[in-house]
């Protein structure tokens, strides 16, 4: 009999895992309490940014993932709005320059083709950039993709193979038998399988609870502002240097409680997606006028021409944060048959293909040619008491 695998969560990670599993000789069942990309993957930006990752296992994974993205449109036979336009981190002052110089050095050693360019060179790429920007990092490998389209395309391609889908179907509990997960109890009845993969990001602990397990994945609120459609303004991904500096210096939470920074991308239809903030506020979706104003300020500082651009909406996404900024990938050590692929925080879009590929290999018992130790759930076991 064919191996049967249940994937819980139809975000970009879950649909990717389902897709790569469906490429193998496996029966896949994808379940989501709502819809495809209805959670974090439907409330994020569109960057596949490599240089936002510090050198180490995350960057290695992201680089492999970025290679996979290059052929994905062809492979899935869908337009995913993929652009390999590069990306830059804007540098506003000497402090940021020093921090980023060291970081770029490390990233180059890790094999990423990233450099520091002067302000005028940055303005050649994005002519509307403020004259106050003194320099920028530049990485040609950075790219963009529409995460909604990608999630739907993964799901469709998987459905064309062996996958069945249960949307608007809530998983109530994992069914355990003798130390092994054998299925799930859902609002549409019980479904049995050989393996279960949890791809439900910030909601993963809801399901682990019944097994007296917990992982340190915490929702981190991120705000994104959407402008009206405007003529092409951005020729690449944009990050603000302060975003990286605040990401590196976690201790700055007191100074910048909302984690205000800048990330910008322009959609194919012309809207700008302007992030953002990083805030621990449980599942509160409210957006304060302070955050709106602060993010808008950052954007107009970088691109003064935006002063007359209308904002049409703002939204909140919950990024699955982990204390060491690495996702949790692989089997759950204490329960056989159960796997986790969650906790990507802001890297879910960038890491989706590689995550799907690796989890599919692991679940089907194949050898993986990458070291998964840094991502293993074990790393949190000592520090957590159940």
């Amino acid at each position: 009999m064919k191996q049967k695998v249940i994937v819980i969560g139809a975000g970009i990670i879950g649909t990717s895992v389902a897709y790569y599993l469906s490429q193998k000789d496996v029966n896949v069942v994808l379940i989501d309490a709502n819809d495809i990309a209805a959670g974090t993957s439907g409330a994020c930006d569109k960057a596949i940014m490599l240089q936002s990752k510090k050198s180490g296992p995350n960057l290695q994974f992201a680089m492999k993932s970025a290679e996979m993205y290059k052929d994905l449109e062809e492979e899935l036979e869908q337009d995913l709005e993929y652009e390999n336009g590069g990306g830059m981190i804007l540098i506003n002052n000497e402090v940021e320059l020093n921090v980023l110089r060291e970081r770029v050095e490390n990233q180059r050693e890790a094999g990423l083709n990233v450099t520091i360019i002067c302000g005028d060179e940055a303005r050649k790429i994005n002519p509307q950039l403020s004259p106050k920007i003194i320099a920028a990092t530049w990485c040609e490998q950075d790219a963009e993709i529409n995460p909604l389209k990608t999630s739907f395309a993964f799901a469709k391609a998987a459905s064309n193979r062996s996958m069945t889908m249960h949307l608007n179907c809530r998983v109530l509990n994992l069914i355990e038998d003798n130390g092994r997960v054998i299925g799930v109890k859902t609002t549409n009845g019980d479904i049995y399988a050989d393996n279960v993969v949890l791809c439900c990001g910030v909601w993963v602990n809801n399901l682990l609870k019944s097994l007296q397990l917990e992982v340190p994945i915490i929702p981190r609120k991120g705000v994104i502002l959407v402008t009206e459609k405007i003529p092409k303004l951005l020729n690449c991904n944009i990050l603000g240097g302060s975003y990286i500096v605040s990401k590196l210096q976690e201790a700055s939470v007191e100074k910048n409680p909302f984690g205000i920074g800048l990330s910008m991308g322009q959609t194919k239809s012309g809207n700008l997606l302007i992030g953002g903030s990083r805030e621990f506020a449980s599942f509160d979706t409210s957006i304060s006028s302070f955050v709106l104003t602060a993010v808008a300020n950052k954007a107009t500082e970088a691109f003064p021409c935006l002063k007359n651009t209308n904002l049409i909406r703002s939204f909140v996404g919950f990024r699955p944060f982990t204390p060491d900024n690495l996702p949790i990938l692989g089997e759950v050590p204490t329960v056989r048959g159960l796997y986790i692929a969650a906790g990507h925080e802001g890297d879910g879009v960038a890491l989706a293909p590689i995550t799907g590929h690796i989890i599919a290999e692991v679940v089907t018992g194949q050898t993986v040619d990458m070291d998964l130790t840094p991502f293993h759930m074990n790393r949190f076991l000592q520090s957590f008491t159940y």
Partner: protein, 416 residues
């Protein structure tokens, strides 16, 4: 808007900010100002009146014409004479801690003691293939352009969606000299449920009060006892006529065609259960009015962190509120279609109730006054010449129950 956010804020103060200058907001502004409160009314449109502006029909029960534009003008004059300030062409983009953030040339913030959200409703989308073409408008837009702006929106017009709003707009449009070829159902799809002839007839039946015309009178009978027999009789016919306008309860529009602008529609027969039958025909039209029903416009209540509940009987998601129209956020009240889809008369009575509820907070009216205002809303509801939702009474009951549950849950002496 980026600029609006960034500019140095010029601030204004008031006792009450009312968002929406429609029937609910206008009536509330008069009640509040006449008791001496400082009232600011904010509206995105360039003039006040809201949906009143487009309304023009005969009220059979009162044997008089309901001319919304004139009623609106009278209310505005009265409000202005009482010192109510109006900010037009002004959108509210955030409500936070009794501060209302607005997109106005001069004023950026209003600091206020209370806020009344009277934002009304929007029309539901009816996404048929071709609905994005020039010449496809909503029934509400058709009403505004016909009755308020005196513009003929087309020469040969059809409506897709058969409901109290589309029927009344079609009649108004015919009076204005437009050739209305008929009302059709939308093709059944995942997104719209109103393609089932049986259900459509039931919904028309619920609009019985408006009864300026035969279908509403029949409708009334449908509701009051003779239901099944008459319903079946209706469904045998493919065609009904109201004031000379054909109503095709057994035909659905499946597609809107045209190279640049609307040129024709595809029409197919539809079974009693809402299944498309046969090959269909092409009908030449230049304008299509879509009527998908109304949705309470709740965005601002969400931005203000009000608790939202889903009550289909009221038209969908609405802010949870007390019988006195208080929301779950202290100092924020609601009135009109944001609380559920009903006619202008009910909105006006709710405007008064919300105003009195606020006046009570300022200790300017008594508990007894408030109870009278509640009775007035109920009376307006029972006398309303138009009913959009068949189970509106049940919807209001559910809201009261949910409010009671909420009060119990938070365990406070919430006097709302």
């Amino acid at each position: 808007m980026l600029q609006v956010i960034l500019q140095v804020c010029s601030m204004m103060k008031s006792d009450v900010v009312i968002v929406g200058a429609g029937p609910a907001g206008l009536v509330a502004s008069i009640e509040l100002a006449s008791k001496g409160l400082q009232v600011v009314v904010v509206d995105e449109y360039y003039r006040s009146g809201g949906r009143l502006l487009g309304q023009l029909y005969k009220d059979r029960r009162k044997k008089q014409v309901w001319a919304g534009k004139i009623i609106a003008n009278d209310l505005v004059e009265k409000a202005k004479s009482l010192g109510v300030k109006f900010l037009f062409e002004t959108a509210v983009w955030k409500i936070e801690n009794k501060t209302v953030f607005i997109s106005n040339e001069k004023i950026k913030q209003i600091h206020t003691k209370t806020i009344l959200l009277a934002t009304g409703a929007i029309e539901k989308a009816l996404p048929l293939p071709g609905w994005q073409k020039v010449g496809v408008v909503t029934a509400g837009a058709a009403q505004t352009f016909t009755n308020l702006h005196n513009v003929k929106i087309g020469k040969n017009v059809i409506f897709v969606g058969i409901d109290p709003l589309s029927i009344s707009v079609a009649i108004e449009m015919k009076h204005a000299g437009v050739n209305v070829l008929g009302l059709f159902l939308p093709a059944p799809s995942m997104l719209n449920q109103k393609s089932n002839p049986k259900e459509v007839l039931e919904s028309i039946a619920s609009a019985s009060g408006m009864a300026t015309n035969p279908i509403y009178r029949f409708g009334g009978k449908l509701v009051h006892g003779l239901y099944t027999k008459l319903l079946l009789k209706f469904l045998k016919f493919n065609l009904l006529k109201i004031n000379g306008i054909p109503i095709y309860i057994r035909k659905a529009v499946t597609e809107i065609n045209g190279r640049a602008e609307v040129e024709s529609v595809n029409v197919k027969n539809i079974s009693i259960d809402g299944e498309l039958i046969g090959d269909g025909k092409n009908l030449l039209v230049d304008t299509v009015c879509l009527s998908g029903g109304l949705l309470p416009l709740i965005d601002l209540s969400q931005l203000a962190s009000c608790v939202i509940v889903d009550i289909p009987e009221l038209g969908g998601f609405v802010p949870l509120h007390s019988p006195y129209l208080k929301t779950t956020v202290e100092g924020i009240y609601v009135a009109g279609n944001i609380t559920g889809i009903e006619g202008a008369q009910v909105s006006m009575a709710q405007g008064k109730l919300a105003a009195w509820s606020i006046l009570k907070e300022f200790k300017l009216v008594s508990e007894k006054d408030l109870l009278q205002a509640i009775k007035d809303v109920e009376q307006a509801r029972s006398l309303s010449p138009i009913t959009f939702l068949p189970n509106i009474h049940r919807g209001r009951q559910i809201m009261n129950e949910k409010w009671a549950d909420y009060k119990n849950t938070i365990g406070e002496s919430f006097d709302g």
